[in-house]
């Protein structure tokens, strides 16, 4: 309460002393830069640097300062600690980051108390945005980007499928979403495996899937080493030669495609960002990224979320000026429609969750390089979990 008073008093003073006075707006980002999830932090940071290179580091003369904190190996208590530090000591105007769901949930009380607008850059469990009225999600939910896949598969001649997911909450969400939609559309699930997260050799699971003789194999694993190992085993064990179609989501992101051989050709994935799309926003984004992070830098879901979060912060400062309180910022941000490199996105004003297109893509070879090519687009997909559970907290 006191903070708000001081903030609004300061804002009033600022208005008096004219806008010509330059201010610093601080955006604190908590993400893993070390440990097994370090790739998220790197992608966020590359993307933010590319954004500032393209759009400058100031808005109307006010400097936008991004402050990074490394939460390490997915440590939720550290995430909360950094949130407190960033809010109390650094006095950040906007908070953001969070690769994993527990990291985001851990800060919900802190940001509610401090009324700090907080942009979720990855954490994909549906319920998170209901944990605080100051959360806004620019990334996705698992149920959201998988929702079209089951129906699409049945419509495209896949009658039976085998489901193989990692045994953790997003894996269960993914299994539920795919299996539910696939069966509703008339498909038949012939087997379901949940694989413990510590498993490294997927040979026995792929052997089971192979023996099931299903038309398709649906997979879901944490993007990174586990998902790469899973797809490699699919290739090596000859499931494709046996006529099975591979269905997935983040496993087939462009950033991982060089890890696979040509047997990945034809793999289908369902996500909210096709890296090779030719929208002018995406072309500009990739160009800026290649200029700052090197010519081999490839964007992924994490990059796109950080990019759009920066866009939101810049737009907020442009409209509200450098001094704003949490309610003003959240209300402003959730009303935005962005022409993102992934396509148009907007927000559900009640849930503060992203609404975006979901693309069904196929891995193809273009100019000798493996890329994802859109073969179907589903417009303005909401998070189906929220609609199915209107009262869950």
């Amino acid at each position: 309460m006191k903070r708000t008073l001081i903030a609004s008093a300061a804002a009033a003073l600022m208005a008096l002393s004219s806008a010509a006075h330059a201010d610093v707006v601080k955006f604190g980002i908590i993400a893993p830069f070390s440990g097994p999830f370090a790739v998220w932090g790197k992608q966020f940071k590359d993307s933010v640097e590319a954004f500032q290179k393209l759009n400058g580091k100031t808005v109307n003369g006010h400097e936008i300062q991004v402050i990074w904190r490394d939460e390490g190996a997915g440590d939720a208590s550290k995430s909360r600690q950094f949130a407190e530090e960033l809010i109390l000591r650094e006095k950040v105007n906007v908070l953001g980051g969070f690769a994993l769901t527990p990291d985001a949930i851990a800060v919900s009380e802190v940001i509610t108390e401090a009324k700090t607008p907080t942009i979720i850059l990855n954490a994909a469990t549906s319920v998170i945005t209901r944990k605080s009225p100051y959360f806004l999600r620019v990334s996705m939910t698992v149920a959201q980007y998988l929702s079209p896949l089951g129906g699409w598969a049945v419509k495209n001649g896949i009658k039976t499928a085998y489901s193989m997911v990692s045994d953790y909450a997003p894996g269960h969400d993914a299994e539920g979403e795919f299996v539910g939609d696939f069966e509703k559309a008339g498909g038949k699930i012939v087997g379901k495996d949940r694989i413990p997260l510590n498993v490294t050799d997927f040979a026995p699971y792929m052997e089971r899937a192979l023996q099931s003789k299903a038309d398709a194999l649906f997979i879901f694993a944490p993007a990174g080493a586990p998902s790469v190992a899973m797809v490699r085993e699919f290739e090596r064990r000859g499931l494709k030669a046996a006529g099975m179609k591979l269905l997935g989501s983040g496993e087939m992101q462009e950033i991982f495609l060089p890890s696979f051989g040509d047997s990945i050709l034809g793999a289908i994935s369902s996500t909210h960002y096709t890296e090779s799309n030719k929208r002018p926003e995406n072309v500009a984004f990739r160009k800026a990224l290649n200029e700052t992070a090197g010519k081999d830098a490839v964007p992924d879901m994490a990059s796109i979320a950080a990019w759009d979060a920066m866009g939101l912060v810049y737009a907020t400062v442009k409209s509200l000026g450098p001094k704003f309180n949490g309610d003003q910022a959240i209300n402003f941000m959730k009303a935005q429609t962005i022409n993102s490199p992934r396509g148009p996105i907007s927000f559900d004003p009640k849930e503060r969750d992203v609404i975006q297109n979901v693309y069904i893509r196929e891995v193809k070879k273009v100019d000798g390089k493996l890329v994802n090519v859109d073969i179907a687009t589903f417009d303005k997909v909401r998070d189906p979990w929220k609609d199915a559970h209107p009262d869950a907290k």
Partner: protein, 288 residues
């Protein structure tokens, strides 16, 4: 026939574990050093081979050999500079320092190569299916079994049939007595450490298709390497082969038949085995 498939999958997986872990069994058995950085040598070997194959176009087998040489050299350097002062220290400093080495390797590779998992460097002549009579089977896995068998045989020759091996076994069984009769145990330590690290580097390179390379490799698979040593018996070469194969087969069979328990079965096996034989399957005489 399913049984045969599980056996092949399990043995090929176990062979990779064996190649990487056999060096660790020496360090822990012979030198009594709790060497938690062993996985880092395998990881560095794997990274070197991958970079050579992808950036310089070096053939797969040659780059795996170079990886072994470099990992061995790094191991020798580490032995002389970092490990030697540790031999007389307690276990806690050893754990702290070697786990610290792990973190250095992880941070270094994240910084220089990046945090994403590396592409598989399985060459096209291995990345195919071959007909083995009753089904077609990945050639890569057969290759792992062949190489593992060959290396196991070479290690067996050195350890059981050479003068160096006889001395090594003597030093494992009773280091004090070995010193007393005039053996240069220190030099033997260095040589074995280099050999163990070279094998780990080689295993990390050729086994990348089974244990995918990423900066966290050094810690992610450490528990498997330690299980091989604990179950096999510290300092026992035959023990580590037996343990690695048993782990590979049981882990694979468990996941194939009761996937909902996943890797759980492995830990039950380890638990039971260590209850039954706390010093491992084939412990050296000094421990048993």
């Amino acid at each position: 026939m399913e049984v045969l498939t599980i056996l092949l999958d399990g043995i090929s997986y176990g062979m990779v574990l064996f190649i990487i872990s056999v060096g660790l069994t020496v360090t822990m058995g012979l030198m009594r050093v709790v060497n938690l950085a062993h996985g880092a040598f395998a990881m560095v070997g794997g990274y070197i081979a991958t970079v050579l194959v992808l950036q310089a176009g070096v053939p797969f087998l040659l780059s795996a050999l170079i990886a072994a040489v470099v990992a061995g050299a790094l191991g020798g350097l580490a032995e002389l500079t970092v490990y030697r002062p540790l031999y007389r220290k307690g276990e806690l400093p050893q754990v702290l320092l070697t786990i610290g080495l792990c973190f250095v390797a992880i941070a270094g590779l994240t910084f220089f190569v990046g945090p994403t998992p590396l592409p598989a460097i399985v060459p096209s002549w291995l990345d195919r299916m071959v007909d083995i009579g009753y089904r077609s089977y990945p050639a890569y896995r057969l290759f792992l079994i062949a190489v593992g068998t060959l290396l196991a045989f070479i290690v067996w020759l050195i350890v059981e049939r050479s003068l160096f091996g006889a001395r090594l076994r003597a030093a494992v069984d009773d280091p004090q007595m070995a010193r007393a009769v005039g053996m240069n145990v220190n030099r033997m330590f260095t040589v074995t450490f280099v050999g163990g690290c070279a094998l780990a580097g080689f295993g990390g390179a050729i086994g990348a298709g089974v244990l995918p390379l990423e900066p966290f490799y050094a810690l992610r698979y450490l528990v498997y390497f330690l299980i091989v040593v604990a179950v096999g018996g510290m300092g026992s070469f035959r023990g580590s082969l037996l343990a690695a194969l048993a782990i590979g087969i049981v882990d694979t069979a468990g996941r194939y038949t009761v996937p909902q328990f996943g890797g759980f079965l492995l830990y039950v096996l380890v638990f039971g085995l260590l209850l039954w034989r706390p010093n491992g399957l084939l412990p050296p005489k000094s421990v048993a």
